[in-house]
Assembly symmetry: C2
DNA sequence: AAGTAATATGTAATGGGTTACATCAGGGGG
DNA sequence: CCCCCTGATGTAACCCATTACATATTACTT
């Protein structure tokens, strides 16, 4: 593969001139320009990105860490990030951490070594000392979907606590009192937040918590399925189930249907996330919508702001707080109950 | 950020020794080893990936190009690729081409410049001259999901023609004759293949093609929705619809239901891909399953084989052909019809 | 015609690693 | 006691681009 020196020699100019053709075309005469471009074309020259990055000390690559690419939530975030990154001429290194803290750390080290321009960490499980490592290397990063109090970092997230509180409250308003919760992986802080919201709503309504009504899922369809099966076996079957994400809600719906029960008549079910499928399954799923695509966009914009202005000093970091929104559909039985009330 | 020279000076050794600690630990004495590692730790030294890649002329990064990350098919492929790549210590550059040939080309150029170790191109729209460009740069690549005859390249794909043929034939066997087809984007070769399979099955059954029964979709839910709406308006409503992918089938189901019709009694519907949702929507979708995760795995393995053995000579390339599989569920009305036949 | 500014181009240092080759110290053999 | 081999380490060239600074050329002033 030809390099800049060979091109220069072939074209009878210096390497500086060749480099200028690519980087500062305005400073090269028209004839030289043409000659060099023709030579490049002829020799199939492609500048070496490593050498360029080394010389410039920047990379036009950012990293996106997500816990599970198979959860449709994350491709949406990725899309938001990609849209911004591509427009800026950046590429994205995709890292699927599988909700595994060790894998996430491994990736972190690889990426720091690769000198990525910045990180977007979604639902990260990293600890402060890991984040501090990134800060020490002075690489900008943005946290998505997780709020950490004790480190100064760019963040964009929705209020999981509030979302969970709202949807649980909605179930209570509709008339249920035996409300179960299938949690997400409890090593993710956001799932603890959701559980807290659920508990708060029950508490405020004077409904006492029942430990057998809280089961831990794994954020995936299967976890919802198993969780629901387990709940249906409890001696007092719950009237409604709040799954900590839509994927689990879908699994739960499958479990309930396959037990011959009807939704929402026998058991109501609600989710969290509002993935595309939520509005398409039967019954349509009541859920909490978070503007995920937008979160990706915003996260990427924040990141590029840091990259471009290099302002990593503490206090300049932004925390962007988006409001979740309740989407009432059929699965929670809202309409039926309302009808009962009116009749 | 400290560099290798500073570490060497601080530790009182040469840069070669520091480098050896990282790359050839067996050739360094235990005491020196310890000293150097401690110094690195103290100085928070992280080797510069650019410099290393430049010196070694390789990058431990591969690129994955996909047409649409929001289509759940592609995250599955990505997962397969990622699983292999991570095991090999590689990172993945994710490029979402949005089914846009220009964007795909742009990415190609960026990636060649970045000196990625290889490409995985899924449902690529690139032309031979583009692929030739990659070959000229001697970068290994694997095509996924698309069969190109006239270039010698690693490929892994399922037989779209056969899959479409099978599922159309199945609809015919069940008893339908007015069978419509919502195609995928017709600038993707695989969708032409699918249409060809559909036409072949009809032709063999002696059913004449009706142009109003073929509408072009866009591979997305929305395209299926619009396509179905259009088909339902035709003067002779089709009895069955074959959507070229599950996403469009799901959109079509939504359209049919919202028109107050029943599936499969009024209109049967089948898809292609067997995404997770296919088995979860109501009615469960009859579709063609392709082993996507496995395709990702295989593609990645092929790619690493090329990367490691460097064998880019023509004739060494493999074409791996996977068989699609018909999954009969409820949406095609198979069971009902069978019952009719037996009664 | 000399001086100066503007334009175009070249030279060489620089970025931070890797590694072939050179060197040196210590152990073993004779 | 000397030589050779081995293992450990150092020196310096190399990977390939970018760019500050130096130089050369042309054009314009007065």
């Amino acid at each position: 593969m030809a390099n800049i020196r060979e091109v220069a020699k072939q074209a009878g100019v210096s390497v500086a001139t060749v480099s200028r053709v690519l980087n500062h075309p305005e400073s090269v005469s028209a004839t030289t320009m043409e000659l060099v471009l023709a030579t490049m074309e002829k020799m199939q020259y492609t500048p070496n990105g490593f050498a360029r990055s080394l010389a410039l000390n920047r990379s036009s690559t950012i990293a996106l860490l997500i816990p599970n690419i198979l959860n449709p939530l994350y491709p949406q975030i990725a899309k938001g990030v990609e849209d911004v990154a591509h427009q800026k001429g950046y590429n994205i290194l995709l890292c699927n951490t599988e909700e595994n803290k060790e894998k996430e750390r491994d990736y972190l080290d690889m990426l720091i070594e690769k000198r990525v321009g910045g990180f977007i960490l979604t639902s990260s499980q990293l600890e402060n000392k890991d984040l501090q490592k990134i800060k020490n290397q002075n690489v900008p990063f943005v946290m998505v979907g997780r709020n950490i109090e004790d480190i100064d970092a760019n963040m964009v997230f929705t209020d999981y606590y509030m979302g969970a509180y709202q949807i649980t409250q909605h179930l209570i308003e509709v008339g249920y009192s035996k409300i179960a919760h299938i949690t997400g992986s409890l090593n993710q802080i956001e799932n603890l937040e959701k559980r807290r919201g659920y508990e708060k709503a029950l508490e405020e309504a004077g409904i006492s918590l029942q430990s057998q009504y809280i089961v831990e899922g794994n954020n995936e369809i299967e976890g919802g399925y198993l969780g629901a099966k387990k709940l249906l076996k409890s001696k007092e079957k719950p009237q409604a189930i709040f799954a900590a994400n839509d994927l689990m809600a879908i699994g739960a719906i499958d479990a309930i249907k396959s037990s011959g029960l009807h939704i929402p008549e026998d058991v109501a079910i609600v989710g969290f996330d509002d993935i595309t499928m939520a509005a398409l399954i039967e019954p349509k799923l009541t859920t909490i919508s978070q503007p995920v695509y937008k979160m990706g966009l915003i996260a990427a914009r924040l990141l590029f702001e840091s990259i471009e202005n290099g302002q990593q000093e503490d206090g300049f970091q932004q925390k962007i707080f988006l409001q979740p929104k309740l989407k009432v559909r059929k699965s929670c039985g809202h309409e039926n109950r309302v009808r009962e009330i009116f009749n």
